[in-house]
């Protein structure tokens, strides 16, 4: 109901930028958007910052300022990494089960046979 009535007379105006010209520099980028969250959850994200100022003549006349910030891939490093390494270590450990010797394979069957017989003997 509101939609139908207001549709035909929409006025298109430039976005309000406090009077100053709006450019891509004044826009909120993804880093800016997520800045508060990374600051609040510092312990997990562990943000790192690097600022380099390049100046040939003297440090007062800077040519270029490079800013570089990263957040640490905590989950990959502290959750998935160790989990994967642990599973693969166990898997490699288990490889010894199939180490080629026929005698070991027969021993498995012997152990199983004896265990089952002892268990069966029990349940008269």
């Amino acid at each position: 109901m509101i939609e139908r009535w207001a549709w035909w007379s929409v006025r298109r105006v430039a976005t309000w930028g406090c009077g100053g010209e709006l450019s891509s520099r004044t826009e909120y980028t993804a880093t800016a958007f997520s800045k508060p969250l990374t600051m609040i959850f510092r312990a997990i994200y562990r943000p790192t910052r690097q600022v380099e100022t390049l100046a040939q003549v003297s440090s007062y006349f800077t040519q270029e300022v490079r800013y570089r910030s990263e957040i640490e891939p905590t989950f990959e490093r502290y959750v998935y990494g160790p989990l994967l390494r642990g599973v693969l270590r166990v898997a490699n450990g288990m490889k010894v089960l199939q180490a080629g010797s026929l005698h070991a394979y027969l021993a498995y069957v012997l152990v199983l046979g004896v265990l089952l017989l002892v268990w069966l003997g029990g349940t008269k």
């Binding site: 509101i2 939609e3 009535w5 207001a6 007379s9 929409v10 006025r11 298109r12 105006v13 430039a14 976005t15 309000w16 930028g17 406090c18 709006l22 004044t26 826009e27 909120y28 800016a32 958007f33 997520s34 800045k35 508060p36 969250l37 600051m39 609040i40």
Partner: protein, 318 residues
């Protein structure tokens, strides 16, 4: 087959009725809080009908939209409004059964409200202005903090009543008689803080100001004008009313009607209005006595609420 269709028809009828009712009352709540705040500062405050005048004015005005904005900008307020209204149908107000309670319980409620919030934040980013970006970013940060605490608070009371469905939750608390378990106070305090955060009241966000550095909710809707703005204002008013009703249902459901008898409905209406008014007073008092917290102090506030909710959970089950 026909009984089911009529059953659903009846439920939707009630849902529309309840939504319309809450929509009508919402602006009144907003202006009463403004008036009470003014009273505390011994000012006259706006007339009670001011909420409706604003809405009417905005609806008549010509919508102004930024030339860079896409369809998201238009969709934002509408989805926000739709989410708020549909959320109201899940909460029992006058009768001890929510109209669409078979559709879902607490999870659906929180989810719908979150959908509205998300859509508004995306629309705010769409205009490309610094204000929209800042507002959306801060709103999302607070949401990231407040929602877990909200869920925990709601689950604590849901666990006590043994079901996520708000209707049956109210019914069980009613049958249980008016027993005040100590954990109720803690859960209530925790949830009250979250309601303040979610509706953007003073300690977390200042609804009355357009000061760039302090506004969060206002920053997101800065670009809107005319009907779009009306939709957003109305929706946030309904949301606030919904939160207060939720608090009432979870902790003090006494007086709610258990049958459709007109007398019981009237009694329920008075009880509900009174309780919501009391809560509104509490909100006004907290707004007037507290200063706005810096954004990075809000986590501490929310952690208090989380602590309270955990404590309530622990007390109830240990």
């Amino acid at each position: 087959m026909t009984p089911i269709i009529s059953e659903i028809g009846r439920a939707f009828g009630f849902a529309l009725l309840q939504a319309a009712g809450l929509l009508a009352v919402a602006p009144l709540l907003k202006t009463t809080i403004k008036k009470m705040k003014a009273r505390l500062q011994n000012r006259q405050g706006p007339p009670l009908m001011q909420g409706y005048y604003d809405l009417a004015k905005l609806l008549r005005k010509e919508p102004v939209r930024s030339d860079v904005a896409s369809w998201v900008f238009v969709a934002g307020p509408r989805v926000y409004f739709a989410a708020a209204v549909s959320a109201t149908t899940l909460v029992p107000v006058l009768i001890d059964a929510a109209p669409l309670e078979m559709a879902g319980g607490i999870l659906l409620l929180v989810g719908t409200l979150a959908l509205g919030r998300f859509m508004l934040a995306t629309a705010a980013l769409d205009t490309g202005s610094a204000f929209g970006g800042m507002g959306a970013s801060r709103d999302m940060t607070i949401a990231a903090l407040a929602e877990p605490a909200l869920m925990l608070g709601l689950f604590t009371s849901a666990l006590a009543a043994g079901s996520l469905n708000l209707g049956s939750l109210v019914r069980t608390t009613l049958q249980g008689g008016v027993t005040f378990h100590p954990s109720d106070f803690l859960a209530f305090a925790g949830l009250f803080i979250i309601v303040i955060a979610e509706t953007g009241r003073i300690p977390v966000d200042n609804p009355a100001t357009h000061l760039e550095l302090t506004m969060i909710h206002e920053a997101m809707i800065l670009e809107y004008a005319g009907p779009d703005l009306a939709l957003v204002e109305w929706a946030s008013a309904v949301k606030e009313l919904l939160y207060l009703t939720l608090l009432v249902d979870l902790f003090v459901p006494a007086g709610i009607a258990t049958s459709l008898a007109p007398l019981a409905i009237v009694v329920a209406l008075l009880a509900w209005a009174g309780k919501v008014l009391v809560l509104a007073m509490a909100v006004t008092v907290t707004e007037s006595t507290n200063a706005k917290l810096r954004l990075f102090r809000v986590p501490e506030l929310v952690s208090i609420s989380l602590g309270l909710a955990f404590l309530a959970l622990a007390i109830r089950f240990l």
